[in-house]
Each structure stands twice: as C-alpha cells, then as structure tokens.
C-alpha cells in the first residue's frame, strides 16, 4: 500500500510518520506514534473518547483524516500535564472522583480544556454544553460537571 509522509506537532514535538491512505488520526496517534491517551469508543463521532485539540480546537480524532493535520499542532491528554504536575483539570477530576472506569476521561478532559482555554469562568450550562459530545456511562455526569467548575474556579468549591 502506498504510504504518505506526514509531519505535525504532537504535544509540542515535531513528529513524522507514514500513513496509509484513509488512516484516521486516532489510529495514527495510537498505532504509529504510540500515544494511547485518545481512546476508540465508536469511530462514529458519537462518544468523544478520542477527543483531541487541533490548533487549540476540539476535534474527534477518529473522524479526522490523518493527512489533514500536516503542519498543524495536535494536543492530546498526554500533553496537558505541566511538567511533572497535573493540569488543574486533572487535579479537579481526581478531587471530585469524576472518573470510574476512566475510559471516557481523556476525551472529557480535552473537551473541558477546550472550554476553559476560551472561557476560564464558565457557567454550569456552558460546562454541560462543552461536554455534551462526550459519553460517560459510569458517573451520571454530575461529578464531571463539578470537576470542571472546580477547576475553573481555581479549585474552590462551587455550588
């Protein structure tokens, strides 16, 4: 199969890979780069487990043709820690017990990050909207919403 060369920034580092025609970005990240943080949940755009940021915007890696990120910046959960320290959202998710099986968590965190990057003090309704493309089957969403609100208010508890 003919392969296409592809270069992009992955969590701030330049990477170069060869992809088969039609390869989606989720497969490229997981199988060719070895970043296992985005998850396969449906391949249909319905669950958000594969959510990543492309040039700072939330995208679904399973519906992204890998070649379309050439020269662009791709950020995954693997890149949001601040050195050895957790990102405030990661800490808030932990503090609020906002993960059970953990499978939706990478996508949820990226959706939440996309929100807070643009709107650091969101309303509850804005948080609900921001995670609405992400399915969680365990938590009932309430702890996740609380975690995002807590991260937004700098860790202070919010009603």
């Amino acid at each position: 199969m003919a392969k296409t060369a592809l270069q992009f920034q992955h969590n701030g580092r330049d990477v170069a890979i060869f992809v088969d025609g039609g390869t989606n970005l989720l497969v490229a990240l997981r199988e060719l780069i070895g970043d296992m943080t985005p998850k396969f949940g449906c391949g249909q755009g319905g669950c958000g487990a594969c959510s990543i940021l492309i040039d700072g915007e939330l995208h679904l890696s399973c519906l992204t043709l890998a070649e379309t990120v050439a020269g662009r910046s791709v950020e995954t959960l693997d890149g949001i820690k601040e050195g050895p320290n957790l990102h405030p959202l990661q800490r808030a998710f932990a503090d609020n017990f906002a993960a059970q099986c953990g499978y939706c968590t990478p996508g949820m965190l990226m959706a939440a990050k996309a929100l807070l990057d643009r709107n650091p003090q969101p309303s509850r309704a804005a948080v609900v909207e921001a995670i609405s493309g992400n399915i969680c089957r365990c938590t009932g969403y309430e702890p996740i919403i609380n975690a995002v609100l807590a991260a937004a208010s700098g860790g202070r508890a919010r009603a």
């Binding site: 487990a49 957790l86 932990a94 499978y103 968590t105 990478p106």
Partner: protein
C-alpha cells in the same frame, strides 16, 4: 450529595476503624486522569493482524453453502476461519459450573438463529482488507420462520429456535420448562382478598453501552502459550471458556485484563477471545478482535427483555395476602446466562415484603434474537419495576399512602421468606423512613416508629401449608374486580395467558454426583 446516617443501626457496628470508612482516593485515579491506565487495546504488538466477523443477515435460516474461496484470495487476508476450524464448536457459558447444555457455536455451521450471528471470521493485515474480504464471502441462506415473542415461542407449533431446547424453553431440574416458587396457597389467598389486581409488565432489552467496546488481543507467547489481553469482566471465566472451546489445557493461556472501560454485565460472554486466540494459533501472529459500536449495540448481548404478569390479592387494611407471578425471560437464541437469571428472579419473589401466599413460575425462553446476558441488577431489575409499580397501584386501590403501605408490608427480621429462609439483617423499613424524611414526605407516627427489628417472626416465621402441584391452579376466568382490569392502553398486544405446562413426573435420580439440582440438565 451523600449523607452517612451513622445514627441508624449504630449498635450493630464497631466504627473504630482506621482505613475503612474513609473516602480514600481511588488507586487508579491518577492513571485515569493522565490517560495511562492500560486497557486491553492499549497494547501495541508487532505485526498485529485484525479479525472481523461475517454475520448472519437473517434472524433464522439454514446455511446451504458458505463459499469463502474468493475471500481467501483477497489482498491482505491471512486466514479465513470457519466453524469447522473451531475445535469444540459448541458451548454454553455456564457449563463451567455444570449448568445447562452446550447450545451455542462460536461460528455457525448449519443454521443461524439470530440476525448478526457470526458465521465466518477473517484475519487480515488491516481492517480495510478484512472488510474487503468480508464482502467476498458468499453465503447461501434458506430463510426459516422466526419467532420473536416469548409467549409465541412457547405455543405449540412455534418454530424451534435452538435445537438443544426443542420446546424453546430452558429445562429446569430435567423436568420443568420453568423455575417454580411455591409458598402457601395463593389461590385461597386470592379468593379471600378484598381486591385482586392483575397486571402485565414488559421490559425492553437494554444495551450495556460501555464506552469501551468488547475486544481482545491474542498473541503467541513463549513455551507455546498465548498471551491474551482482554476486556473481560471475569478473567478465569473467559480463560476456562477459551480452554474448553479450543480444547487445550487452561495453562496454555496467560490472560491479562483487570482494567476495563465499563462492563455492566456486557463483558462476561467471552465473545471475542476464542476467535482472536484461534486466529493467533492459525496464523502465528498477534490478532486483535474489537467490536465496532454498531456491532456492540446490535450483536453484543443485551440485558434480555422480560414480560411479567403479576396478580395480587390485598385486604382493605392494606395487607397483601397473595402474590402470583408468571415471568418470561427473553434469552434470545442461546442460553448464555438467562437460565441463571430466572432462578435468581424466582428467589427474589415476592420482593422485600412478607406475603403469606406466593406463587411464581419463571421461564427462560428462546427467540430468534441476539442472545441476552447479564446486566447490573440481573434477574431483578425488571421484576422490581413490576413489583413496585404494582405496590403503588395497590396502595392507591386501598387508599393508603404508598410509603406507609410499604412499611406495613415490609419484611422484618425473623419473617419467613418465600424461598423458605428466615429474613435477617433487614432494613427496608428504615430506608423508607429515611427517604420519606429526606423528601419531606409526611408519614404517620406509627409508621415512623416501625422497625425492621421489631414485630417480625412469630406467626410470620411459619412456612404455610402449600398445596402440591396436583392442585391445578385455575388460570381463567380471572377474578378481576378492579379498575385496573383493562389491558394497559400502551401495550401492543393484549395479555394472553399461555397454556400452563402439563405437570410431569419427576425424573428419576440418575445417581450422578450432584452439584446442585438447579442444573437443568447436567453435562455428561
């Protein structure tokens, strides 16, 4: 918001503990929020192949011919697996605990019994190449009449779904096509009741919908063993099932799992492991078999549908004096775990209440749909829906507050349950009282004072005289005397009582070592 009510039952507990009772952070939380928790699909293996399954397009059909010749020549195909390649191509999950007969092939050979049943597995270099080869598999079906309704399936002359159970029902104790529960004289109880209420309830199938779909990766390991990364909810259950189907010693396998993206009961059936291991055996390469989402939703096993008829007798003062239940579990085309659920359901009757006359018949029925399996609340969820809706109606009927009605009928310590064991450690009354308090739902003082630890036992501890089965229970005409007698407005078909199965004599004991008499039919 969660509040611990340490004040209640405090005298029964020693709370002098150091680690227990603390809201300690989860051991896996850091892994979850950093995305480093390792699920089965997070293992990258060199030269991994991909397995996809060709599924039946018919709910019920004879397979006249399966032609894979063109698919075998398709680019990137490493191996086509057919039923004849599976060493022991017939299994039932609970054979591991010696319950039930082998009734389900890994890959269908002569017949398909539900839409989506696996027929051929394709192992290819890439998913795309597997899909291309799938399109080249030619299957010649001879469609057969299908049966999709549990009560239709039990009627004489219904199409036989699963040849292992020609009456379309799991056979209990080698004798009955249902599990019985008999406690007291339900017909006398109903006859003596001030009101009788019979209702029909129907629960839909439900999909587990874990965010991670079912799947596994199998790879040849050292010493001729195979390493298997899996999403299973039950590691040795899956391992032993694979050992049986593939006819190898169980220590051939090294199963690794333990971190799973949600299960809820949908990852017990060991659907992918036997084929991914067989693929690895036949190709000598790592093989991955992962369900797509549509596959998971339509052909991954659901919580089975249940149809339930309840007939209750209640006195004007609110005491329930008789409860008669007939329930049908829709097992789909094969047994999987539904046979077990029916027994659990029978044990659950009549709910957490002390009722002197209880009668239950619970059926596990085969239909031409995706086989059902366990799910959170297995065997109980639908029955609780039916019983608790019924409780609300009975309270309404006798003009009682529904909370007080439940406290009045609640089981208490020392009461005899319908499965003939004494109730202990009960706490239904306290739950009702606290829920009422939280919801600011007023209940009268005498009900606030009630306790699970008081006024149970005594005459409530007795096992009432129970007629033997020769006391043929009258099924019609029913003694409908209430406003609920009409068929529910939303039901698609009117309730029709199925013919009661003819009582048959007990089979003679065959002297085999008995694990439990619940085994419908022993594996020999």
């Amino acid at each position: 918001m969660l509040e611990l009510r340490k004040d209640i039952f405090a005298d029964e507990r020693d709370d002098n503990l150091k680690e227990i009772g603390k809201g300690t952070q989860r051991q896996d939380m850091l892994g979850h929020v950093t995305g480093t928790s390792t699920y089965f699909d997070d293992h990258k293996l060199q030269g991994m192949l991909h397995l996809k399954v060709v599924r039946s397009t018919h709910a019920h059909a004879r397979l006249r011919r399966i032609d894979t010749s063109e698919a075998e020549r398709s680019a990137g195909v490493r191996r086509i697996i057919r039923g004849s390649d599976v060493p022991r191509n017939l299994n039932t999950l609970l054979s591991l605990i010696n319950f039930g007969k082998d009734d389900e092939p890994s890959l269908a050979v002569d017949k398909v019994r539900y839409k989506g049943e696996p027929i051929v597995a394709i192992v290819a270099d890439s998913p795309r190449e597997a899909y291309e080869a799938m399109a080249k598999v030619r299957i010649d079906y001879e469609p057969l009449p299908a049966v999709l309704d549990v009560e239709d399936a039990l009627k004489p002359g219904a199409p036989v779904v699963n040849d292992t159970y020609p009456k379309n029902a799991f056979i209990y104790h080698d004798v009955y096509d249902h599990q019985k529960l008999r406690f007291g004289d339900v017909e006398r109880g109903l006859a003596a009741a001030d009101h009788v209420l019979e209702q029909r309830y129907q629960m839909s199938p439900i999909e587990h919908a874990p965010t991670e779909t079912n799947g596994s990766i199998a790879a040849p390991d050292t010493n001729g063993r195979y390493i298997v990364y899996t999403s299973t909810q039950a590691l040795f259950f899956s391992l032993d099932t694979c050992a049986k189907i593939l006819d190898v010693p169980s220590n051939t396998f090294h199963f690794i799992g333990g971190t799973v993206g949600g299960g809820f009961g949908g990852k017990v059936d060991t659907l992918t492991e036997p084929l991914s291991i067989l693929g690895a055996m036949l190709t000598g390469r790592p093989v991955r078999y992962l369900f797509g989402r549509e596959e998971e939703m339509q052909y991954g096993p659901p919580r089975g549908a249940e149809r339930i008829y309840i007939k209750d007798g209640v006195m004007r003062d609110g005491r329930i004096v008789a409860r008669k239940i007939r329930a049908y579990f829709d097992s789909g085309a094969y047994t999987r775990l539904s046979s077990y659920a029916a027994v659990k359901c029978a044990a659950h009757l009549p709910g957490p209440y002390t009722i002197p006359n209880v009668y239950g018949d619970v059926y596990c029925v085969f239909t031409n749909r995706t086989p059902a399996t366990a799910m959170r609340g297995f065997g109980v969820t639908a029955m609780d829906f039916a019983i608790e809706c019924q409780m609300d109606k009975l309270a309404h009927l006798v003009g009682m507050d529904p909370m007080e009605f439940r406290i009045l009928n609640a089981y208490r310590d020392g009461d005899m349950k319908a499965h003939r064991r004494e109730a202990k450690n009960t706490a239904l009354i306290e739950c009702v009282q606290v829920a009422a308090e939280k919801a600011k739902w007023p209940i009268r003082e005498e009900f606030k004072r009630a306790s699970s630890r008081k006024e149970g036992g005594g005459s409530r501890a007795a096992i009432p005289p129970t007629p033997r089965e020769s006391y043929a229970p009258a099924t019609a005409p029913s003694q409908q005397r209430t406003t609920y007698d009409r068929a529910p407005a939303t039901s698609r078909e009117p309730p029709s009582p199925p013919p009661p199965p003819p009582p048959r004599p007990l089979a003679p004991s065959h002297g085999a070592a008995r694990f439990s008499s619940v085994f419908g039919t022993r594996r020999r």
